[in-house]
């Protein structure tokens, strides 16, 4: 980790409009250092838009977002501030895995030695020279996570990183996230896999209809309910 300011994401009453649609309204959220914060919500709730806003891709119509004490889009080397894996298909498919990472490293001013390191971490070294078009979904997820780790950033944002991973891959991500959080990094993960949330998450934020309806430690969130799923359904008003 390289940032001087404490790691973390502070989302302060943001609004996001895409065209005429208001996607996010008055969203406030904190992802603290040393914690894995899971972002939950039904399809279309605005989770991906929120993560894209944090990464500096989507302009805000109101409010502000601070990443490690600054604005992600203003960072001299954005990948060294915030590691992102937002799409399982965000690659040039004609590239090999190693070329994709070399491209990212060069564009971000990151030492090329990190490419070999993150390939190794992601278990992709044997496939580094293969074209991404031949990668399975699980391998593309691993490559995306490798890209997020490239800048050794203190803050990580991942959008459904477990989709398509086999059981070994899921165990790998679980261990990796726990390790990264233990190092003091701030990690925000959008997910629908409640088992994983409960296994290694510290905090949950629930987004519904473009608003945050819960933002609390997992133990507090589940307290009084039979399970995380029940607590979630109550939070989004779908409990029967």
């Amino acid at each position: 980790m390289t940032a001087a300011a404490p790691p973390g994401i502070l989302v302060d009453r943001i609004g996001v409009r895409l065209g005429r649609r208001e996607i996010l309204r008055e969203v406030t959220l904190t992802a603290a250092a040393g914690q894995i914060t899971y972002l939950l919500g039904r399809n279309g709730a605005g989770k991906s838009t929120l993560l894209r806003a944090i990464a500096g891709i989507v302009p805000l119509s109101s409010g502000s977002i601070s990443v490690n004490g600054g604005e992600a889009a203003r960072a001299a080397r954005p990948l060294a501030e915030i590691g992102t894996h937002l799409h399982s298909d965000g690659f040039h498919h004609g590239h090999t895995g190693v070329r994709h990472l070399r491209w990212l490293a060069t564009a971000s001013g990151i030492d090329q030695d990190r490419v070999e390191t993150v390939l190794d971490i992601a278990g992709l070294t044997p496939f580094a020279g293969d074209r991404i078009s031949g990668y399975s979904l699980g391998m593309r997820q691993r490559l995306g996570i490798a890209g997020a780790l490239l800048g050794d950033a203190p803050t990580l944002v991942l959008d459904e990183p477990l989709n398509g991973l086999d059981i070994m891959g899921i165990r790998w991500v679980r261990g990796l996230l726990a390790e990264l959080a233990a190092e003091g990094r701030s990690i925000l993960v959008a997910s629908h896999l409640f088992d994983e949330v409960q296994r290694n998450g510290h905090r949950v934020a629930v987004l519904d209809g473009g608003r945050i309806v819960a933002d609390t430690p997992i133990a507090d969130f589940v307290d009084g309910h039979r399970s995380l799923e029940d607590a979630y359904l109550v939070a989004i008003g779908e409990a029967r």
Partner: protein, 266 residues
């Protein structure tokens, strides 16, 4: 100690990244630019020269007109620059779209950074490639095809003008292409519009009423004319003016590219 401004540093990284993105055995440079911008124009030049030279030596019935310096690099100007333009346009459109576009936005939050980097990378590549091929052509043609191309002279005023002006035209043409691509936003459509404009619209516009006058304002033809190449076009501002006009259009299109790219990010 001299510190490099952050924006310059970012553009430098973007240029280097573009080199990695397009390089490699299966990259755009190997699969499109090398065959289209290097091999094709050299092949066409060699075939045309061989046939002309052959006819000039076998028969007295067929008169083969000697070719001067000002018409010796026509195929380089026609193919090399245009293929680089297509590569730039395709990349500009493809890299700004979809999930990959999101990565680009994270890496380079300011849209102008990537557009400027692509102008530098593809414009520089087109300039170096075209002028190198032009020099090679002006040296090889009189050497191997003396009957028809004996008058071609690299160190003549016309030859030296090519050496100076071809890079200017190449850089300008790529700038125009980036503007077209950023405005259209679709890779295939950008290339199609560009090729249609260069090879069809600019040449056939002369067929409509007042067409010759309109043709004098066509940016690519102005650029080619400005290099000193012999073509039938009548810009109202002369040879040097034509080159300046082409460069002016390129700057305008670059501004449009930056603006369009920024709008697409909203």
């Amino acid at each position: 100690m001299i510190t490099v401004p952050a924006s310059v540093s970012r553009i430098g990284r973007a240029v280097a990244a573009e080199r990695i993105r397009t390089g490699g055995r299966r990259g755009l440079l190997s699969t499109v630019v090398l065959p289209g911008a290097v091999i094709l124009p050299l092949l066409v030049t060699a075939v045309v020269a061989t046939v002309s030279e052959h006819f000039s030596t076998i028969s007295t019935d067929v008169e083969v007109v000697a070719v001067g310096t000002t018409n010796s690099v026509y195929w380089i100007l026609t193919f090399t620059v245009t293929v680089w333009c297509c590569a730039a346009a395709y990349t500009q459109s493809a890299a700004e779209r979809g999930d990959v576009g999101d990565l680009g936005r994270i890496l380079f939050p300011r849209s102008g950074t990537t557009v400027a980097a692509r102008w530098i990378f593809y414009g520089g590549g087109a300039a170096i490639c075209a002028v190198a091929l032009a020099i090679l052509t002006m040296i090889a043609l009189p050497l191997f095809y003396p009957n028809v191309y004996g008058d071609v002279d690299l160190v003549s005023a016309e030859g030296l003008r090519f050496v100076l002006t071809i890079p200017m035209y190449a850089v300008s043409a790529v700038g125009i292409s980036l503007g077209v691509a950023a405005a259209i936003g679709n890779p295939a459509a950008s290339v199609a519009v560009l090729l249609g404009w260069v090879y069809i619209v600019e040449n056939t516009v002369a067929l409509i009423p007042n067409g010759y006058t309109i043709q004098g304002y066509m940016p690519f033809l102005n650029g080619v004319y400005g290099t000193g190449q012999e073509i039938v076009v009548m810009p109202p501002w002369g040879v040097n003016g034509a080159l300046v006009y082409c460069a002016g259009i390129a700057v305008l299109m670059f501004v449009i590219a930056c603006w369009a790219s920024r709008l697409r990010r909203r």
